[in-house]
């Protein structure tokens, strides 16, 4: 494993280590190990070295290069990096180089971080295993015959494999937390609107959020603080600066009311459930008050999500039409060009979701499907509110299973969709949630437990996660 973000940044800022040396080390690790894992779509070796050199120059000049000085960061390949391929692991954007940076990318640069590469994902973030990538799947560092989870599988694996201490993914229905759990790392989905979506290639606009992966809760908290905060380029951005979460990490959970939520445990494998129960006991031992909780409407989350997300996606992905950028397959007239381009450019899961979404929005079906799903969303929010009347935080499993084998769930899409049953409700409600590694399953593979918090309650959430992490030591 690499050094922590905190220690690396401290060393570089103090001039004890050069950013260049750090980054060279990371690039070498990637070069050595990624062939077997395929976590990266693109490694930005030259640019990373140049950025590292800039950081070193700033240190030499006596300037503070920022809280992430010299820290190597991997970014999910659905975040725009100017002049660097941003493919969303899709053939339709295979050679696209954005003319602009995502806000998150700008903030990372300002903090002295060094982006070393773009990581693999399920195409357009649609999937739970990274097997839907047009460039081949990523493999789980704990067991390369297994999936790393998805859709941010590349980012999770890059941290789990020790290539980088920091990575970012996006979470629409669990795409940060579930791969974090399957790869044994920390993954955070912030409150909807906490982190700017400007420059994040949209999948489902009312659900997507960018969030960090790291080996420790503190590292994840540091990353979160750097990227969070209001962005005028994103109308759905929370109008507040980033909250302070690092400072309070050691405050413990004395007196905190934690709800072990039945809907976030039911249906999980017994070994996963056992880990969650152990986490509950650990929190109790650390002073929390743990009791049972319920978010009854959460059971409808999967259905609501698989109508809302594809509906928004069907609209968000209409722009991939061969006109302005990306793949074009010529046609006799524009319609022929559109249909041939999109047929060739999109993989089957993307096509399925586009069609499902188009159907859910189409005349005559809107109310029964999309409309109904948005009403269910309200029910879920209400049930969360009721649960939070009696609890400060909720606890559950992140994924029902440990990492499954490549190909195990690709036969029937519905089987794959069930991987997200514990994570989806947070996205529908817009609430933050974090997955932290908590022991292993019977198969020795990592298990992640999930802490959920009300909107904007990241400080509390990180604090409890840190306490839970400490209980493992």
């Amino acid at each position: 494993m690499t050094d922590t973000i905190a220690s690396t940044a401290a060393a570089v800022r103090a001039g004890e280590r050069s950013a260049r040396e750090v980054v060279d080390e990371r690039l070498a690790a990637i070069e050595d190990g990624d062939g077997a894992l395929n976590a990266f779509n693109y490694v930005m070796a030259e640019r990373a070295r140049a950025t590292a050199d800039t950081v070193d120059r700033r240190v030499a000049a006596g300037d503070d290069p920022g809280p992430l000085a010299g820290v190597a960061v991997a970014l999910k390949d659905n975040m725009c990096t100017r002049g660097v391929p941003t493919t969303c692991s899709s053939r339709i954007l295979e050679n696209w180089r954005p003319p602009y940076d995502a806000t998150v990318v700008t903030r990372l640069a300002e903090a002295g971080a060094v982006v070393v590469g773009k990581t693999n994902l399920d195409e357009f973030a649609m999937g739970s295993s990274t097997e839907n990538s047009a460039f081949g799947p990523t493999r789980n560092p704990h067991d390369p015959s297994r999936v790393p989870g998805g859709s941010s599988g590349g980012s999770a694996a890059s941290v789990a494999a020790g290539f980088v201490p920091a990575a970012f993914g996006s979470d629409t229905g669990g795409s940060i937390r579930q791969p974090a759990a399957l790869c044994g790392v920390v993954g955070v989905k912030p409150t909807y609107g906490r982190v700017s979506r400007y420059g994040l290639v949209a999948f489902a606009s009312s659900l997507d959020q960018i969030g960090p992966f790291a080996a420790t809760v503190e590292d994840a908290a540091l990353l979160f603080e750097v990227v969070a905060g209001h962005d005028p380029m994103d109308s759905t951005s929370v109008p507040e600066p980033a909250p302070s979460v690092v400072a309070g990490l050691g405050e413990g959970v004395e007196g905190l009311r934690v709800g072990l939520t039945q809907e976030f445990v039911e249906g999980a494998d017994p070994d996963v459930t056992a880990r969650v129960e152990e986490a509950a006991r650990a929190l109790e031992k650390a002073g929390a008050v743990v009791s049972d909780a319920s978010v009854p409407a959460a059971v409808y989350g999967l259905s609501a999500y698989y109508l809302i997300a594809p509906a928004e996606a069907s609209s968000n992905l209409a722009r991939y039409d061969g006109v302005r950028y990306g793949l074009r397959v010529d046609g006799d007239d524009i319609t022929a060009m559109y249909t041939a381009t999109r047929a060739a450019g999109f993989g089957p899961e993307v096509k399925r979701r586009i069609m499902l979404g188009t159907y859910a929005l189409s005349a005559g079906y809107y109310d029964a499907y999309y409309g109904q799903a948005q009403r269910v969303r309200t029910l879920i929010i209400r049930d969360f509110e009721a649960a939070y009347a009696n609890h400060d935080l909720l606890l559950g499993a992140t994924s029902p299973t440990t990492a499954f084998e490549l190909g195990a769930k690709t036969e029937n899409p519905l089987t794959m969709y069930l991987s997200d049953v514990f994570t989806i409700p947070s996205n529908l409600a817009g609430h933050p949630a974090i997955s932290i590694p908590y022991g292993t399953g019977d198969d020795g593979l990592p298990v992640g437990v999930q802490l959920l918090a009300p909107a904007l309650a990241e400080p509390l959430m990180f604090r409890a996660a840190a306490a839970l992490e400490r209980s493992l030591a």
């Binding site: 696209w96 180089r97 003319p99 602009y100 909807y192 609107g193 109308s235 759905t236 929370v238 109008p239 059971v299 409808y300 999967l302 259905s303 698989y306 209409a318 061969g322 006109v323 302005r324 950028y325 793949l327 074009r328 046609g331 006799d332 007239d333 524009i334 319609t335 022929a336 060009m337 559109y338 249909t339 041939a340 999109r342 047929a343 089957p348 096509k351 399925r352 586009i354 069609m355 499902l356 188009t358 159907y359 189409s362 499907y369 109904q372 799903a373 948005q374 009403r375 269910v376 969303r377 309200t378 029910l379 929010i381 029937n412 899409p413 519905l414 969709y417 409600a429 817009g430 909107a455």
Partner: protein, 100 residues
């Protein structure tokens, strides 16, 4: 039991979404989409007509910006990414039918 979605529906939706499907795909997708919609029958059955829909998880309103110009992109950079360009513009195959 009635199919939640027919082959014709799928073909129609593929047209709306400008996706060219093979016969094979049409067949397969009809089954797969049907399975998802069948699963969604659990929420279709809920009697919640009077529950207001949530379009936004955030209670924000009136997010506005000033009417002040900001530099535009460099045209060359923009057209460099175009699959086809001519005379400073994006080139596309002929368009049959007028815009709505």
């Amino acid at each position: 039991m009635a199919e939640p979605i027919s082959r014709d529906d799928v073909a129609h939706v593929a047209r709306l979404a400008r996706l060219d499907l093979t016969e094979d795909e049409l067949e397969r997708f009809t089954g797969q989409l049907g399975a998802v919609l069948e699963h969604a029958a659990d929420i279709a059955a809920l009697d919640i007509a009077d529950v207001p829909p949530t379009a936004h998880p955030l209670p924000l309103k009136n997010v506005l910006r000033e009417d002040t110009p900001v530099p535009s992109l460099d045209r060359d950079e923009v057209l460099a990414q175009a699959p086809a360009a001519e005379d400073r513009r994006f080139k596309v195959p002929r368009i049959l039918g007028e815009a709505p």
